[in-house]
Symmetry: C2
Subunit: 157 residues, 2 copies
Amino acid sequence: MKHILNKNTQEVLQAAQKQCQQQGLRFTTKRSNVLQLMLNENKSLSAYDIMAEYKTQYNQSISAVSVYRMLDFLIHAQFVHKLISSSQYIVCSHITCHHAHEIPQLLICDTCHQVEEISIGKLLASELEANIAASGFKLQRQQLELHGVCISCQNLH
Amino acid sequence: MKHILNKNTQEVLQAAQKQCQQQGLRFTTKRSNVLQLMLNENKSLSAYDIMAEYKTQYNQSISAVSVYRMLDFLIHAQFVHKLISSSQYIVCSHITCHHAHEIPQLLICDTCHQVEEISIGKLLASELEANIAASGFKLQRQQLELHGVCISCQNLH
DNA sequence: GTTGTAATGTTACAACATTACATTATTTTC
DNA sequence: GAAAATAATGTAATGTTGTAACATTACAAC
Ligand SMILES: [Zn+2]
Ligand SMILES: [Zn+2]
Ligand SMILES: [Zn+2]
Ligand SMILES: [Zn+2]
């Protein structure tokens, strides 16, 4: 399976627009702006970070509530992931990919807040499932969030 | 490796007390009360839940700040786990065990908030590590939190 | 008992998130 | 194209989780 990861902002925005059209979703200017803003920043952001950046980049105030609603939209459209463990948000690395989204495994750098999104392999996924199924437990949200230090930040110190 | 999981409250409290003595930690009445309270409830609780329950069960008000501090203590003593994904707290299932604590894998029921703590196997752990190491990423916190529905709640509906 | 340290209390506030209701923009229907 | 319906956004208030700063109390060491 070939992964063509997000390359540049314009390409991703166009892909997002297209996907919304196909599904009858409204890709409004503000939603587009929020996604663009998140693409520009190369790290995870809190909703309030986004609110502040929006003001800076577009010279227009938006409310926290609106940010949360736009994030909800972007998450449902599968353009954005929420990092539960840090209450932050990050653009999905696979918007321009054409395959189904696998169980995302998010490597979150606690130093620079960059997030690497790698897919958990089929084998590993099924082992995890088996491990869990032994308890009769039925998984709902499938997303692994792992905290640590990225390779760049390791090399700095 | 044999796991003797926590059985009854008294046994666990005594084990906790003993471990604190051995390590020169103070297992104060309030800390003990909080742990006992958490053992009585068979589910994860928020800090504010604990504050309210404390008032109910011990007829004495304690502040949120104190609850957070006691939770910090109990977490450092390895008696309690924090569920990052839900901002809740749960007693470790292995207080009375005598082996080292492995990478905890917490199966969190989103219906009844009961948490099953299973250990991730050696094999699975090393596969995960390898998967992650491929990115040069260095893990810090090792705790997997998985959300879903427990077997009891599946059988209800 | 005095002194030092750890535990707890009090107050204020920061950060993240939701609810309820009003207004504006867009689409649909006629 | 105007009216009605629906979706998006704004505004205000509030809820939830968590921390900072400083005061007080309990306890141990001497
Ligand atoms: Zn993704
Ligand atoms: Zn980094
Ligand atoms: Zn544990
Ligand atoms: Zn359940």
